[in-house]
Structures are given as C-alpha cells and as structure tokens.
Amino acid sequence: MEEIYIPLNKVNVGQTCIIKELKVTGKQRRRLLDLGFIKDTQVKVIRKSPLGDPTAYLIRKSLVALRKEEASNVLVEIISD
C-alpha cells in the first residue's frame, strides 16, 4: 500500500493532520523535533498571518508558528477537516 503525504504548508486552516515524515536532517530536523514535530503527532492548522506566512499550528497543546519553508519539510496525512 502506497500513500502519498502532503507538505504541512499545503494543509488548509481548520484541518487536522498527522505527521508522517520530516524531510530535513541535521540542525533543522533537531529544531522541529524540539518543537514537538515528531512522527505520528497530531497537528491542527489554526490560522495564517495576514500575508499568508507564517502559519500557526496547534501541536501538543501549544501554539507554534512555522514559516512556509519550514512547514514544507513536514510531510503529513490529513485526518479531518
């Protein structure tokens, strides 16, 4: 069974998804892991800033803002709208 995951920055506001993979390595990966972006964690997209970047995500009960470039490295599967 092959599933196609989408980057987190393509998920719409209000949708909830599950993290499946981090595309980065090294320092950037470490940073994402420190913020709680770990495989199988649930993330909800809360809102986008007026210019569309960055976007606020609810993860492990805390709100984290990621830039488009950072979020594009997080591959997710959408579970609900």
């Binding site: 320092k27 470490r30 940073r31 420190d34 913020l35 709680g36 492990r60 009960k61």
Partner: protein
C-alpha cells in the same frame, strides 16, 4: 530591555563566567526553562528584585542575577533566557545553554508550564543529561486548574528521579517549598538521581569507547557522557566552546 551591544554574545557570555562566590556558604542556583513559563516571576519573588516580567517569550535576553537567603545559606540566583532546547538557535538560547553546561551551578531549577508539560519535558530531559543536581518547578498550576489539567507531582518526581515542586509564582504559592528544595539539594540532604536515557546499542557502544578518552581531557565540572553524545552528533561548536571556556578562565579578569 532589548539586545544592546553589551548584552550581546561574547560580552554576555564572558559576564556569565564572572560569577564568583564570596564565600563557601554561597550557592549558585540557575533558573532554566522554556520561554514564557514564569522564570522571571519566580526570580523576582525569591530575590525581591523587580526584574522586568512580561507575558511574552524572549523577554529575558541575558542573565539577571539576584540573591536570597534560606536558613544558613545564601543563594545566588541566575535568571536565564528561556530555551526550548539545549541545541541553541539564537544567542539567547546559547547563553542559557552555556550557563547550564559551563557555569557549574550547584543546582539548576527547571521551570515548566503546567499547561503544556509535554513540550516542556523535552528540555528537562536534555538538562538531566548534563547535570544530576536539578529540581523541577511546575509553575502556572492555577492556569492548569483553569484548563482542568491535573498534574501528579509525586508521580513526576518518581518518573524523573528529581525533586518536583508545584508553584503559582504569581500568587506567591509554593515558593517556600521551592526554597527548601533548593536548600536540601545544595546541602546534599536530597541527592537527585535522574533516570538516564539509554540509547540504542550502537550509540551506547560508541559512548563507552569515547568516554574514557574524553574524561582525562576535561575538568570534572563537565559531564563526559554528554560531551561524547555531542561529538556523536557532530556538534563542532560545542567543542570549540569547551576549549574557549578553558581559555576564558584565564582571560576573564580583565573582562
């Protein structure tokens, strides 16, 4: 106050190492934790100072220092900038990391936000890899109560192997317990025994090879296991900082 030239990087870091105990009765206590967990509020309540507090992260950019007394000991309290991780991404986080690693505090108080413990515990585990002498201070218990979150402090203490104190710093609650816990750890009445993280066999094998090689090269202040782990990480910066640090000891006098 924002970043000024003086509060930046090198000068600030040199400043950190300048903490000299006036007498052996003085104990060095570091306040660490994620951003916006109330470290500065606890700092003010314990020392009676009026260090600027505010409900936004990134307010404390360098370290502030204050004193308080409990029983027969005097404590130097250092308020560190908040950090999510000991793998720093900014100068402020670097300041906090360096102090915990090289400042050699007698005890590190890790302040966590009771409403999002899960995220805060990441830093706790990282600090416990460096030092055994740590106390967990679960702050903002009133906020947690409001959000209907219950924190089992005793269980947390058993799981982590360090003393855990619950506080509501804003209402001055639990601070007596915190002071007593700091005292007990400093006089070695309580010896925290944090549970160590065991890594997969490949990593542990390498660690066992590295640790005996590193140990004779460093002062006993720094945990060799932690340095071995950073070397496996490929963190060159930390190695530079260690050599800088030993250089720093001689150079600080005119800093």
């Amino acid at each position: 106050m924002g970043l000024t030239c003086k509060s930046c990087k090198r000068k600030a870091i040199l400043d950190i190492y300048n903490i000299v105990k006036a007498n052996p009765n003085q104990m060095l206590v570091a306040l660490a934790g994620n951003p916006n967990t109330g470290k500065s509020t606890i700092f003010n309540e314990l020392t009676g100072l009026k260090q600027h507090t505010g409900n936004w992260p990134g307010k404390t950019v360098t370290n502030a220092r204050g004193y308080f007394k409990n029983k027969d000991k005097e404590f130097i309290l250092v308020d560190l900038p908040g950090t999510y991780s000991l793998f720093p991404n900014s100068v402020e986080e670097e300041v906090a990391r360096d102090f915990i690693c090289f400042g050699n505090p007698d005890v590190t108080v890790i302040v966590v936000d009771a409403t999002c413990l899960e995220r805060n515990l990441n830093l706790v585990l990282q600090i416990l890899e460096i030092t055994d002498n740590a106390i967990l201070c679960v702050n903002l218990l009133d906020e947690a109560k409001r959000k209907k979150i219950q924190v089992d402090l005793d269980r947390l203490s058993v799981e982590l192997g360090i003393p855990v104190v619950g506080t509501i710093a804003r209402d001055k609650k639990g601070l007596k317990n915190l002071k007593d816990a700091i005292y007990d750890v400093c006089v070695k009445k309580i010896i925290p025994q944090p549970k160590k993280i065991t890594y997969p066999k490949e990593i542990e094998d390498e660690l066992q090879k590295l640790i005996p090689m590193i140990t004779p090269l460093i002062t006993n202040k720094i945990n060799p296991r932690w340095i071995a782990l950073r070397m496996l990480d490929g963190d060159i910066k930390i190695l530079e900082r260690i050599s800088q640090n030993s250089y720093c000891k001689g150079a600080c006098n005119h800093g």
